[in-house]
Amino acid sequence: MSSHTCSVATGRRIAAVAGLVLSAAYTFYAWRELDFGRWHRPGAAIFPIAVGIILAVASIAILLERRNTSNEVHGATFTLPAGADLRRLVFVLGAFAIYFVAMEYIGHLIASALFLFVAMAILSDKSKLRLALYAVVIAGSFELFFVRFLQVQMPYGLTRLF
């Protein structure tokens, strides 16, 4: 159990800077690419520019927050995981992303069974055989309920042949 402690006020400032950059790029795109139209045929650019301004105002308001007030209202620090905790999080998210990619190729049934097994193996130290059994049963029942019964059209990949 290890973690990094970070300052909320600093984090919010970083978010605000990101917000400012985003709002500039966002508004610039609307300005350059989109049609303003005329009063009687208002174009697609008007609303995004208004939104860009709101985003900029919100970001500036956060930059102007005083550190003391922020600490009082939001708490002084937050923690980010490190070491084993971080590894667990990254591995599960990584497996999750691979699962998306895989399901288009090998189909949802197989991909979800594999993901369930990997995620469970990361999160628990039970015997692999038992986890594999769980994964197959769960993925199979999801397939039956969602795909066969509710007709959700998940990618079938290889499994279409069956």
Binding site: Q153, R160, L161, F162
Partner: protein
Amino acid sequence: MGLAFNRRNVLLAVAGIAALGAAGPTQAQEWPNRDITFIVPYAPGGSTDPISRKFCEILEKELKVKLIVENKPGASATIGTGAVVRAAPDGYTIGLGSNSSLAYQPLEMKGLAWKDTDGYQSIVKLADLPSILGVPADSRFKTFDDFIAEARKNPGKLKVSVSGLRTTPDLAMQHFNKQSGLRVTTVPFTGGGGEALLAALGGRVDGSVGFGATMKGQVDAGKLRVIATFSNDKYFLFPDAKPTGETPWKSAVRTAYYVIAPKGIPQPILDKLFAASKKVLEGEDFKAFAVANGYTMDPKFGDDMKKELMDYERQFKEVNDFLESAK
């Protein structure tokens, strides 16, 4: 049930693998030997999903395999249409197209998988759906002639609501504007024609251009009067409405629905598809469905259908140029 199901599937799988391994010619004779996917590029609901499902339901009986209807909506139907166009040309993926998605969208969007009728295989035209002009029942416009007279007197003053800019009802009105030299302003509303109709019922616009299915209920209840149909002939749902074909200006932009397939399907499979869809369209079941839902039927196959879509490409281009110049 579960066991039998599985065993049959295993057998099918074996057959499928065998078919994959076999050479081309035998494939055609065996087609179709597994489920066919029918892609609908629209969400369920609305006018497009039911007609696809009806077609598939009957085609299923003709071909004796299961047709799986898959909805891939979005991006003005170009996502689902692209999925059909890019699929393997083995006859196991076909889909619905409309004159808007097939002929109009390539003008608007860059980088689609099809530019014109050569980008996909035309199979069959299912039906036409004319756009119609409805006015509130208490409107001072009793007939389309009244409406035209007013439009001539005050150019640009008459407003009709449409379900979004550059939708077929909008294009129908604009093409009429172009042909007649009249200027009727279209006001785009969203929400599947419902909000456009509401604006007309609430008296905020002079009329609404839309489809029969949305307007029929209001007409029956005496709240709306349909004065024009954007077609060459009378529309059986509203026999009192004047066809734009009977005005001095020929203009009849309708919505039309087609079945398409990827380019490069072997001829034997194509022939089977043509024959099966012909039987579907000639059957009473499909005809009854079309009448009940306000579709007019005008079956066209393969190259005839292709020719019609090429006409639409030209018409849409003209309207677009007209709208550009009017800006």
